[in-house]
């Protein structure tokens, strides 16, 4: 199976297609795990989750269990979560603080820097000399680095620096990080869920403004029928929507001016102190971008949705037709109690599986996946909107300081529903699968 053949990328002919097999073939899934999730930078955690010496977290990278730790010097470390003795899962906990990790099976002990500091009854073991030719320390994760508190790791050493990998998308992450002068934190409360569909359905949907009005029609109706407290909403200005696509698959969908989605719907605006600090830090023009609706995707497994609340979601593909999601409410540290409460309620209502919108998406992914089985229907037609958009004027994007990105833009507003920001993800997908 030739992975390159699954993406038909001919923009000059107005054609971009992804074959259904990319979503349904278990062999493609195995390739994705080996060549994407276990071979490039993936998001693993927020640095504030693992702040103190000896803090640890466990995660999956692709199919492989890892443990992330802060060692005694405060340095970030990552290891395969597998005892060197018999391969046993070393740490069964999600998170905690431990100077030493002891394998439950035979008691081999490792410190928070991954060094083996104890082999049970070693002297009595009559080990051959060759035993000491092998390191007994935990096997390290090849690369681990963070950008402004977002922690990434790679099981392959054959990757560029994280800065180079993120590239222009760093400026889009800055729009989130600059809201938090004392750093970002997760609001406590786990929200993990599964859906019966391929991981790329979540990847695509996070860049898809086109689905909102139909998929979430019931939610929109409910919000509209609510009695309004306080002053009437500001008269909406022109609604503008668009996308920004960068190298290595990262992209952002954005809009401004939609009724009910103005600055007054944003938690940041409910905290006058943080809003003023953000304005001082980034200036009025970048603050305007910070307060737009922005759905950012960092390929292959991170989305940050900055709308009526601020969500960070990441995913772990479980099978070609099943995905495990992990969702968090992101917040600036030191936020006022009123703004925090508003942020939490807005998050729960939209993003929770017990909320009124994300649950629609999750069921829709299962309908997508089941529909993909209709291979006889041929290629889908979901990547064409926006391919013929006239060149965007550069001025609106100037505050972002982007030097190498494709910016799409339309005064058609939310109806624009650009699908081209998805293209860069598939170009990166194909590049990695071919790189093997």
């Amino acid at each position: 199976m030739e992975a390159a053949s699954l993406v038909d990328d001919r923009p000059e002919a107005g054609v971009f297609r992804v074959h259904r097999t990319a979503f349904t073939d278990p062999q493609v899934f195995e390739l994705e795990m080996a060549r994407i999730f276990e071979a490039t930078w993936v998001f693993v955690a927020l640095e504030s989750e693992i702040e103190q010496a000896h803090d640890f977290l466990t995660r999956q990278i692709g199919r492989q269990p890892v443990i992330l730790t802060r060692d005694g010097t405060g340095a970030l470390r990552g290891f395969l979560n597998s005892c060197r003795h018999k391969g046993t899962l070393l740490c069964p906990f999600r998170a905690g603080n431990r100077k030493f990790h002891t394998c439950p099976y035979h008691g081999w002990v490792y410190d928070s820097a991954g060094h083996n500091v104890g082999i049970t009854d070693r002297a009595d073991g009559h080990y051959p000399p060759a035993f000491d030719d092998d390191s007994h320390d935990l096997a390290p994760v090849a690369r681990i680095d963070s950008y402004r508190g977002f922690l990434f790791a790679s099981l392959s050493a054959n990757v560029p620096s994280l800065d180079e990998h993120l590239g222009e998308a760093r400026k889009l992450l800055d729009l989130v990080a600059d809201q938090a002068p004392d750093g970002l934190e997760y609001i406590p409360g786990e929200a993990s869920y599964t859906y019966d569909g391929n991981w790329k359905l979540q990847f695509e949907n996070g860049l898809d403004a086109y689905h909102f009005a139909t998929t979430h029609a019931a939610f929109v109706d409910i919000v509209r029928q609510r009695p309004r407290a306080g002053p009437p909403p500001q008269a909406p200005g022109p609604i503008i929507a668009g996308t920004i696509s960068t190298a290595r698959g990262h992209a952002m969908s954005w809009s401004v001016g939609a009724p009910g989605q103005g600055p007054d719907s944003r938690p940041l605006v409910r905290d006058a102190r943080l809003l003023e600090l953000a304005r001082e830090r980034v200036g009025a023009a970048r603050l305007d971008w910070m307060l737009r609706q922005r759905n950012l995707t960092i390929f292959p497994n991170l989305q940050i949705i900055d709308i009526q609340s601020l969500q960070l979601r990441t995913w772990q593909p479980l099978a070609v037709d099943r995905t495990r999601m992990s969702s968090h409410c992101l917040a600036p540290r030191g936020e006022s109690p009123q703004a925090r409460r508003f942020r939490i309620r807005q998050y729960e209502e939209f993003f929770n599986t017990g909320g009124l919108a994300t649950s629609d998406d999750n069921v829709m992914y299962a309908l997508n996946q089941d529909g993909f089985a209709a291979h006889a229907a041929g290629d889908t037609q979901g990547y064409s909107r926006g391919m013929a958009t006239p060149a965007a004027p550069p001025e609106p994007f100037t505050p972002l300081g982007l030097t190498d990105a494709r910016c799409n833009y339309s005064p058609a507003g939310l109806a624009f529903g650009d699908e081209t920001a998805i293209h860069v993800g598939y170009r990166e997908w194909r590049r990695l699968l071919q790189a093997g």
């Binding site: 906990f93 999600r94 998170a95 609001i187 406590p188 409360g189 786990e190 929200a191 993990s192 869920y193 599964t194 859906y195 019966d196 998929t215 029609a217 019931a218 939610f219 109706d221 409910i222 029928q225 495990r324 409410c329 109690p337 925090r340 409460r341 939490i344 309620r345 998050y347 729960e348 929770n352 599986t353 017990g354 909320g355 009124l356 649950s359 629609d360 999750n362 069921v363 829709m364 299962a366 309908l367």
Partner: protein
């Protein structure tokens, strides 16, 4: 101290709620709740503890009035949410009911619960289970739910939870 009269009142109300949910008699179900009822499904903070303050921590669901429940019923009945197209079939169970009077018109109760959910489209089933904690308030001659906390043990959620699956 568990009290037989309080337990009988709580049992009757819980059985009625299960019946309303499984029969999709949502108008009657909503009438079991006081207008200012708190409906709360806390999240898990870690393996062992749950979130305890809805204002500073995430909940799976938190409503501080019946209005939030009315909106959920509205959404399911709208024909516009794919979560209810088709609507899963459910069977709710409650047991281990313990209840006591806190005053003449206030009962505190707890119960174990399980909901079996079958999706007629996917032909798959799932169970949710945990503990209910309730405060029942006597309003006139009726006992109403003034507060319901739903503790969900298996919180890796397949696609969605909603009022009829809890």
């Amino acid at each position: 101290m568990p009290d037989p009269t309080a337990s009988a009142i709580a049992t009757e109300l819980l059985y009625l709620e299960c019946r309303c949910l499984d029969d999709r008699d949502w108008a009657t179900w909503l009438e079991l709740y006081d207008a200012h009822a708190v409906y709360w499904v806390p999240a898990w903070r870690d393996e062992d503890t749950q979130t305890s303050d809805p204002d500073t921590e995430i909940s799976q669901i938190y409503h501080d009035s019946r209005r939030g429940l009315e909106e959920r019923v509205m959404r399911v009945q709208s024909g516009k949410s794919v979560t209810a197209l088709p609507l899963p079939r459910t069977t709710h169970f409650v047991s281990n009911i313990e209840a006591a009077f806190e005053s003449d018109d206030l009962i505190a109760a707890r119960a174990s619960w399980m909901a079996l959910i079958y999706n007629p489209r996917t032909e798959r089933q799932h169970s949710n289970f945990g503990r209910y904690e309730l405060r029942l308030q006597k309003v006139g001659q009726r006992w109403l739910i003034a507060r319901k906390t739903i503790r969900l043990q298996n919180d890796l959620i397949p696609a969605l939870i909603d009022f009829y699956t809890l």
